[in-house]
Symmetry: C2
Subunit: 327 residues, 2 copies
């Protein structure tokens, strides 16, 4: 059987993760990595990789079945997803929740016109967590659901720390409050404030001579980012930052606590515990790239989300195999 | 908006659960309950219910959008699902894993011929657990997955106890071994024997004068059912059985522990904690009945499983609402 021919756009942590995920999937092959940088300057994470400038993408029409878009949601994807979807089937992990409706409409228009298919906003949140929010709400309409994130690094909050005067480097962990998770698992359905759900733990390298108390105060009182949370600030050395905070763990839980009948308690929980956030997100992208390939082969076009894709399309196995082995 | 018109076939615990679940869903209405017993002898669990003999089902063609089949998998559904699917769209919870492939083929042939749609084998296992096995295997192809059931009553094992001479009544709980679950959650991927995964705890009412040691020995050594497990047998009175073992809790976990990249550990877990197994299964059936209705309205026919149904079809919300509120 011929393999699904995939291109990667963007070669940061996510793009490198996609390359590794492709290596784990026998039915998928990497054709080329597209970058805005000079292809000659690029170094493969492992194995032979063809690097191409993004400007040459069009030359790969007919040679690539699905482009996996690995740029950031702030500035890359709003531009790249429509542009690449005009030429190829695509999958991305656009995660700016508030902008998803307009992003969907734009990509849908482009894809319908080009006859391509794009699954947007995959990954784990949005993505797998969204699926579980939908599923558990549909099954238990009378209930309450909770999403917890972490323990993991929040890029946005880490960036906010690094903008504080006197801060040389830093990283922020979002930490779910175990005690309230235990209460929910035991059947309680508390109303929770922002502060009660997550802690924010910051590890900061101060510039020489900086006032640590001032830095701490600026961080913990920062509106939107930290002032609504219990925040800790720990000052560390650059060596500690490298040695102890160099990986990108993450995860979290979606828990729905509902009732059926006359107050019968029913709890649905989905959880992730990830040693590498980008490698996991990359693995989700590759599974959805497979779905894009299959749906496109059936003649489907336009934008879709995880809500529109039957799980059977994510697997390399045939419907018969899936029914026999996994149902 | 007109409601989805549903019929229930079979009025045991599951059928009664479906009635309660319909009460929680504003877009679904119950038209009638079909039974093999005399309709006059039937008593509603709550609210006005029209009872009909199953022989009159055909008279409801055009008046019912989806029939929810609530019989047992051993003898009811193998007969009822094909028979009713010849007349109506259907959904069932057929759970005899080994027979699913042939059951699917039979229902598919009937449905294709009749122009109806049937989603078979919904519920939570098969059903939600199957979905999670597929999803986690597709995302983490290098890994190992574990399904644990319980703590909950196994009907088959309870029946086996009750067939033992000298046993008047009894109930069997399947109990997952917490210690191995903790090991898996912490990243280990042990090879587990049947005995290491679950315990079987039996609560037995002995007939007067029966030899309790003999009963215990017969149970714990029973092949297929108990001999491969660590089994406890506790003798109780009939009053205790009624007072302490009258509910039907269940649940369990599907955990996949996989690796990405160079041995990066990633864990996906889905879990249920149910105070009532039949009420929860019923709620899943109603959500899939909604999907059957929508898919049928799109002109789809034949047999499907949970693997073929996009989650968006399970919700009463529009695709736009789902993207805005839940993605």
């Amino acid at each position: 059987m011929s393999k699904i021919r995939v291109g990667i756009v963007g070669y940061g942590n996510l793009g490198k993760g996609v390359q590794k995920a492709i290596d784990q999937n026998d039915d998928v092959e990497l054709v080329a990595v597209f970058t805005r940088r000079s292809p000659e300057s690029m170094v493969s994470e492992g194995g032979e990789v063809r690097f191409e400038t993004i400007a040459n993408a069009e030359q790969y029409k007919g040679k690539i079945d699905v482009m996996i878009l690995c740029g950031g949601s702030a500035t890359d994807l709003p531009e790249q997803t429509p542009a690449i979807t005009a030429l190829f089937n695509t999958v991305d992990s656009f995660d700016t929740h508030a902008k998803i409706p307009e992003f969907f409409d734009e990509v849908n228009a482009v894809a319908k016109k080009a006859g391509t298919l794009s699954v947007i906003s995959t990954g784990w949140d949005p993505g797998l967590f969204s699926l579980n929010r939908l599923l558990s709400e549909a099954i238990l309409p009378q209930g309450k659901d909770y999403t917890f994130w972490g323990t993991g690094i929040s890029q946005g909050h880490s960036d906010a720390i690094r903008r504080v005067p006197g801060v040389k480097a830093g990283v922020q962990y979002t930490v779910p409050v175990q005690e309230v998770i235990d209460r929910i698992r035991s059947g309680e359905t508390p109303e929770l404030t922002t502060r009660e759900k997550h802690l924010r733990n910051c590890f900061v390298v101060a510039e020489e001579g900086a006032n640590e108390e001032e830095i701490r105060n600026t961080i913990v009182n920062m509106p939107n980012y930290f002032s609504d949370y219990d925040t800790t600030v720990t000052f560390i050395t650059e060596e500690q930052l490298k040695a102890e905070h160099g990986t990108m763990p993450h995860g979290g839980f979606v828990i729905r606590s509902g009732v059926t009948g006359a107050g019968t308690k029913q709890i649905i929980e989905f959880g992730l515990k990830l040693e590498s956030n980008p490698e996991f997100t990359a693995s989700v992208l590759v599974a959805y790239a497979r779905a894009v390939f299959k749906l496109s082969n059936e003649g489907q076009t336009g934008a879709k989300t995880v809500f529109d894709v039957p799980f059977g399309y994510l697997s390399p196995k045939s419907p018969e195999e899936l029914r026999r082995e996994l149902l």
